[in-house]
């Protein structure tokens, strides 16, 4: 956190000064470790074992927050009899289909919910999780029934002992014990513990389950929804949260509504049923209002009840259309045109070669950026030109480079990592040909509408009828505030016709409201740009709700109902946040309640009540279909109801827990251009004996598009380097400040060597494992102030099935002293490694490795 979010880290330092204990668990000793109370070196890719070990410690030692767990989590819910745990099937849960490489999740359901929820899982879902009718769920509040989630959990993690943690993670038992003690001692009524993660947890084939692991701990310890608690995702781009909320993502529509998928039947109602069941609790039950309002925002008067609000205008998805699948499709000549909007996949995406080769197959490419990034110049100075794999004169890709406007040259909002929208005002006009995306896409849309205005083709109707009339200034730039107003939504009829909506609860399914992103409704309440509020923090209380605007409804902390006990009283004075004020008949506190504001703790929904009315007064997890925090996910996740330790797709280590080596549901691509290293104890795995991981440095930003062109940042970290331990350096003959070549089945890259004791050889199972650390900011090109080989070139594509995010935080490699060969000799080196390891397209790609 100190490394990548130094300014956010001021609050950690502040807490530390007040006595908070800071523990840093990371394969790499970072600037965070330097000021942490404890640093725990861990093998990249082993965190679930570590987290599972903590779960076991909590359960074995009765360290969980019993009142919280019983009241606010699904610990007491009974799991159906058909469920078989991974502990009993060698690492697979019940329902695994070897053919499809996926699970039939019906056996994971709660007892009393006997069929697989209609919603499916993974990318087919919005953020609401699967829909679910909770009314018949059986429970045992003593937590003693063997099929309670609590007991299932206990059995599931029974083998995650400190010794097992050591064997898998390389963390000595006493150090592990110290973490367990610290985390549990600092949780409960009086204290809370916060977990912070970043892409070190998401870039795995089981990334979602990493987060689930910490969620289980936080729920058991009563750390969710309470001040100082929670799980904080530190996101790395100014509006990466916003770009998920208002997604430039294939599988969702604004506000985490799922994209409709092709199928039969494919009606509006079918679609709605995948989002919610009419019986479910919580605010997702109103999804129809959100969808209709979105469609009204996009197609205006053309969207009517009669035509299902133009639901048919939405294109359908048929599987994974994520960026990696798209890159593969480019290589297969399925994609003609590609827009890169402030993104540098030639450097920043996994498997850089596949990305660059993919782009060489395009008919046309539009790159919009502040700087002439490597993705715009791959055709003339990319690494494949040097190896002879590509020849400039043979690349048919037409490239448009359009310079972009900077944040000072346009108005708009960023949504930061805590879901807070903040408005930045335009300060100056963009220089030269630079334009904002807003202006560019507005213009593009206008021109496309003009171009196709006379078309009579049915496929052009959605464009022709698309609402696209934003006010423009004297220079022709569209008003960002106008767009935010549309996002916020407005009343279309009645007294308030034309006025902005003030909350998503005002949205209606009857076409009387429009709104582009329901969770953002309220950002323009009272016709005021709430995101632009800047009441100084010094003039506000510590929650500072009058600075910017956080979705939903300006709530700063989600699930904050859980900060009070079931009766609505704070768990403790020290940790008071929200409480029920019986006199006023409402929830009070420094934050906006994440709850129906006047619903008393004692409220119990009548039988059959659904939606918000279906939430009891002690159901704090209002977006969950059962109102509870999920220790066990009966559905929604494609790779299991509870996290299981699997080895990364490429690992020099055999899974110590299960015959099942890696996640049986990970997405693999068996292709000649995406070969994998042998893993575990497969033949040839010793050719790649080391673990490597990638990361950022404080001095740079991701693929370098906003840092490697700046002398002030470039001079601070001018060259690509690898970090190795002195022991590892000795083993391989690497010299400090010399060069090293790092090799995988995909490529070989060179880096300067930084020998440092910050890298720790791990002892696990009597074996020493060396890890190589690689910052990934550099790329091969001619325009940046500093350049170098790209760490992402080492990775292949293997994805988490839930979110299609690549595994790029743990893989195996070899490292050798000296510079890599250049030209075709580089390809020969990689080929030599492949043949030594006996690599074929099948290598490492067998999903099920449990032998029957």
């Amino acid at each position: 956190m100190a490394e990548c979010h130094p300014v956010g880290f001021q609050w950690v330092m502040e807490a530390k000064a007040r006595g908070a204990k800071v523990i840093h668990i990371d394969p790499r000793f970072t600037r965070t470790s330097a000021v942490a109370d404890s640093y725990v070196p861990i093998r990249a890719g082993s965190d679930i074992a570590f987290l599972g070990g903590i779960v076991k410690y909590i359960l074995d030692n009765d360290k969980y927050f019993k009142d919280y767990v019983v009241a606010y989590t699904n610990a007491s819910f009974l799991v159906g009899e058909g469920f078989v745990d991974s502990e009993d099937l060698g690492g697979l849960f019940s329902g695994y289909d070897e053919e499809k490489g996926s699970y039939d999740m019906s056996s994971w359901a709660y007892d009393g919910v006997d069929e697989e929820p209609a919603g499916g899982a993974g990318h087919h879902l919005g953020s609401g999780g699967p829909s679910l009718d909770p009314s018949n769920i059986k429970r045992d509040e003593t937590l003693q029934h063997p099929r309670t989630v609590f007991q299932v959990l206990k059995r599931h993690y029974a083998r995650y002992t400190p010794e097992m943690v050591e064997e898998i993670c390389g963390v000595p038992p006493e150090l592990f014990h110290e973490v367990c003690e610290a985390v549990t001692a600092n949780s409960g009524r009086e204290r809370t513990t916060c977990w912070v993660y970043s892409v070190g947890w998401t870039h795995h084939s089981v990334g979602v389950q990493y987060i689930r692991g910490s969620a289980i701990i936080q729920l058991l310890l009563g750390n969710m929804g309470r001040p100082g608690g929670g799980i904080l995702a530190l996101r790395g781009h100014a509006s990466i949260q916003g770009s998920t909320d208002i997604p430039t993502l294939f599988n969702i529509l604004p506000g985490y509504l799922p994209m409709p998928k092709a199928g039969d039947p494919d009606t509006f109602d079918d679609y709605l049923d995948t989002i919610r069941t009419p019986e479910q609790k919580g605010f997702w039950a109103e999804a129809e209002s959100y969808v209709v309002s979105l469609l009204k925002a996009w197609w205006g008067d053309a969207a009517t009840k009669g035509n299902d609000w133009c639901f048919d205008y939405l294109p359908r998805i048929t599987g994974d259309h994520g960026t990696y699948q798209t890159a593969i499709d480019m290589n297969d000549d399925k994609v003609e045109g590609y827009f890169l909007l402030g993104q540098n996949p030639a450097v920043g995406s996994a498997h850089g070669k596949l990305q660059r080769l993919g782009m060489s197959h395009l008919k046309w490419l539009v790159v919009r950026d502040l700087n002439m990034i490597e993705s715009a110049t791959f055709w003339k100075d990319g690494p494949e030109i040097a190896t002879g794999e590509l020849k400039t004169e043979e690349i048919g890709t037409e490239v448009f480079f359009l310079p972009a406007a900077a944040h000072t040259e346009k108005s708009g909002s960023f949504t930061q990592t805590q879901r807070m929208l903040q408005w930045h005002h335009k300060a100056v006009d963009p220089p030269g040909d630079c334009t904002s995306e807003l202006e560019f896409f507005f213009l593009l849309g206008k021109k496309l509408k003009e171009r196709l205005a006379d078309s009579v083709l049915e496929r052009d109707l959605p464009l022709q009828r698309l609402t696209w009339d934003y006010s423009v200034d004297e220079k022709g730039e569209p008003s960002a505030a106008d767009v935010l107003r549309e996002i916020n939504g407005r009343h279309l009829s009645g007294d308030k016709s034309g006025q902005p909506l003030s909350a998503y609860t005002e949205m209606k399914p009857d076409g009387s409201t429009a709104g582009g992103c329901w969770i953002y409704t309220g950002v323009y309440a009272d016709d005021v740009n709430q995101a632009a509020r800047r009441k100084p923090g010094q003039e506000q209380d510590w929650v500072a709700t009058e600075w910017g605007w956080a979705w939903p409804a300006n709530r700063r902390q989600l699930y904050n109902r859980a900060s009070a006990d079931p009766d609505g009283k704070p768990w403790s004075e020290r940790k008071a946040y929200l409480s029920w004020d019986a006199d006023q008949g409402k929830w009070v506190g420094p934050d906006v309640p994440d709850f129906v504001v006047d619903k008393p703790p004692s409220y119990r929904p009548p039988k059959g009540a659904a939606g918000a009315d279906g939430l009891a007064g002690d159901d704090p997890f209002i977006m969950q279909a059962d109102g509870k925090g999920w220790l066990y996910a009966p559905s929604g996740l494609l790779d299991g109801p509870m996290p299981v330790h699997y080895e990364p797709h490429e690992s020099p280590v055999r899974n110590a827990l299960h015959p099942q080596q890696a996640s049986p549901t990970r997405e693999v691509y068996k292709r000649q251009d995406n070969l994998s290293n042998p893993s575990g104890d497969d033949p040839g795995s010793d050719v790649f004996p080391y673990v490597f991981t990638t990361y950022r440095l404080t001095e740079h930003h991701t693929a370098g598009g906003m840092s490697r062109w700046l002398p002030y940042l470039s001079e601070l970290q001018p060259e690509f380097f690898c970090e190795v331990s002195p022991e590892h350096a000795r083993e391989r003959g690497l010299e400090h400040l010399g060069w090293a070549t790092i090799i995988t089945a995909r490529s070989a890259i060179e880096a300067r060597v930084l020998v440092t004791e910050r890298v720790v050889p791990l002892t696990m199972g009597g074996r020493t494992i060396h890890q190589v650390g690689l910052p990934y900011h550099w790329g091969v090109g001619a325009d940046a102030v500093v350049s170098g080989d790209s760490a992402n070139d080492l990775f292949g594509l293997t994805l988490d099935p839930n979110v299609h995010i690549q595994e790029s935080k743990a893989a195996s490699c070899d490292i050798q002293p000296g510079r890599r060969p250049t030209g075709p000799a580089l390809l020969r080196l990689v080929e030599e490694y492949r043949s030594r390891a006996g690599i074929t397209v099948e290598t490492g790609n067998t999903l099920k490795t449990v032998k029957p």
Partner: protein, 189 residues
Amino acid sequence: MDLRTTFLSWPVVRQLTGDDPLGRGRAAQSAHTAALVPRTSTADRVVDSVCPYCAVGCGQKVYVKDERVIQIEGDPSSPVSRGRLCPKGSASEQLVNSPGRATRVRYRKPFATDWQDLDLETAVDMIVERIVDTRKRTWQDIDANGHKTRRTLGIASLGGATLDNEENYLIKKLFTALGAIQVENQARI
């Protein structure tokens, strides 16, 4: 210039006549130095902004003089950042004013070995044509199973995590209306 004034402002004279006989302080101060003011105080305007790098969302103040950004620093009012900035945030002024920044449209013809110039309007018109053509060629009303898809898989987009919400909204809205579904950003990466 008045010779007398010039002589009296000679630091040696000021040394001999003032409180700084050793000439190490006030006597040695030049007129230029005495007139120094921070450039922020002479800015034409100060604009509220937000750091464009990571997602902490630090508040920034952008100082503008003669329609040029002359300084960017932290906004002390921000309850998030309290006026502080990391090295990247502190480099924001260089980000927007860097001489290495690309400010002209560049165009590479298929198979060409170098860039050529192109004006913005023409570039947008050409992109419109490419979209229309590709969409026409790759349009898919139904998939292999006969299910309605009404889309194109011929156009993809990547980016958005550094962009404004409003920009992403238009991107998603336009591409969806065009039937282009491979709209992605850093959040997947």
